[in-house]
């Protein structure tokens, strides 16, 4: 019953009604940035699409799922401990895992895990702080573990259906993130929205994440086997 309400709310006036629009704006930002970079620079790089294009495409899709969750969390500002810990953990883990996975697929395990931990822990701490120190710690730990795990998984799957694994990992992560949106709605459906903001933050977060990822993949340091 509540999920039906959630689906209905995706067209409503609460923050949930802005989630799909946020995904769209984030995707648009990332694709425009990637399109400009591709036409100016990346298309001259040998084997760009097969070595980096797939991963950048899925990175853009993944980031477009983080941003609406950040917006939803910010809209309610304060959560109960359990919900806050779930938010910190989910965003930290999925954020770290996916970004680590994508970068490790092109640059090797070291730089992949460093980037994964950076993104995962940043997202985990930022969103986990909605419930205080417990959420912050949970986000930090999940980002730390997710970043390492994502990079390691990509590196281990290097010669064994890496692209197919990436699609599967992305699909599972999407389901988890949508479930988190639902969890937040369930927890907060009786609460009033505390922060109303425009989409500037959506553009900025998407821009920063996709630029960082693209820069690392193309110009960033690599481990020995990646040349």
């Amino acid at each position: 019953m509540t999920f039906k309400e959630f689906k209905k709310e995706l067209n409503g006036n609460r923050v949930e009604g802005e989630l799909i629009k946020t995904v769209f704006y984030s995707l648009l930002t990332s694709f425009i940035v990637l399109g400009i970079l591709y036409s100016l620079k990346f298309r001259f790089i040998e084997d760009f699409m097969s070595t980096k294009g797939y991963f950048l495409f899925f990175a853009a899709l993944s980031y477009s799922l983080f941003v609406p969750t950040i917006r939803q969390v910010r809209a309610y500002r304060e959560f109960a401990c359990m919900a806050g810990m779930m938010i910190g953990m989910t965003l930290g883990m999925i954020g770290g895992f996916l970004s680590g996975f994508f970068v490790a697929s092109t640059n090797g395990m070291f730089i992949g895990s460093v980037f994964g931990m950076f993104v995962g822990m940043s997202l985990g701490i930022w969103n986990g702080k909605c419930c205080g120190i417990m959420g912050i710690m949970e986000g930090m730990m999940a980002g730390f573990m997710g970043g390492l795990m994502g990079a390691m998984t990509a590196f281990m799957l290097f010669n064994d259906h890496l692209i197919a694994s990436m699609v599967i990992v992305f699909l599972i992560s999407s389901v988890i993130l949508v479930s988190l949106n639902y969890l937040i709605y369930r927890e907060m459906k009786l609460e009033e929205r505390k922060l109303k903001e425009d989409h500037l933050r959506t553009f900025v977060i998407s821009f920063v994440l996709i630029i960082l990822t693209a820069w690392l993949m193309v110009y960033g340091p690599r481990s020995g086997v990646f040349g």
């Binding site: 995706l10 694709f31 084997d47 699409m49 495409f57 853009a60 010669n159 020995g224 086997v225």
Partner: protein
């Protein structure tokens, strides 16, 4: 904009960008390369890798001849998945059986290190 319109626009956008990426990606030679196109018949030298503890035994090859690399039955686990970085280009293949080969270009004199795809086992080819 209505939610349904946004979802429709989003799907179209993802399909267009996705098909561009996948169609162009398939046209190019993948980074994981092991095609026999660059090996000249009659000049290819066979190099067989063996396992030594947790690493590969050092192998020896002649300079200026393309290499057809295989791994004998002593090589197990992730060490059967070999990754080379030769002049910034990655050569990699899972050598499932001793008959599977990874084709490398002709190398100049020197020592070339390589690893398994998990970065756990290491080895080197000394080109003389």
């Amino acid at each position: 904009m209505k939610t349904k319109t946004i979802i429709f626009a989003m799907i179209i956008l993802v399909l267009i960008v996705g098909s561009f990426v996948f169609v162009n990606g398939k046209k190019e030679t993948a980074n994981v390369s092991s095609n026999g196109g660059q090996v000249i018949q009659g000049q290819t030298q066979q190099v067989i890798l063996s396992q030594d503890g947790y690493n590969y035994e050092d192998a020896v090859a002649d300079a200026g001849k393309p290499i057809s690399l295989s791994a004998d039955s002593s090589v197990g686990g992730c060490l059967r998945s070999v990754v080379f970085n030769v002049e910034g280009k990655k050569y990699s293949k899972y050598l499932k059986t001793p008959k599977d080969t990874l084709d490398l270009p002709a190398l100049s004199k020197g020592t070339y290190s390589f690893s398994c795809s998990m970065g756990m086992g290491f080895g080197k080819i000394v080109v003389k």
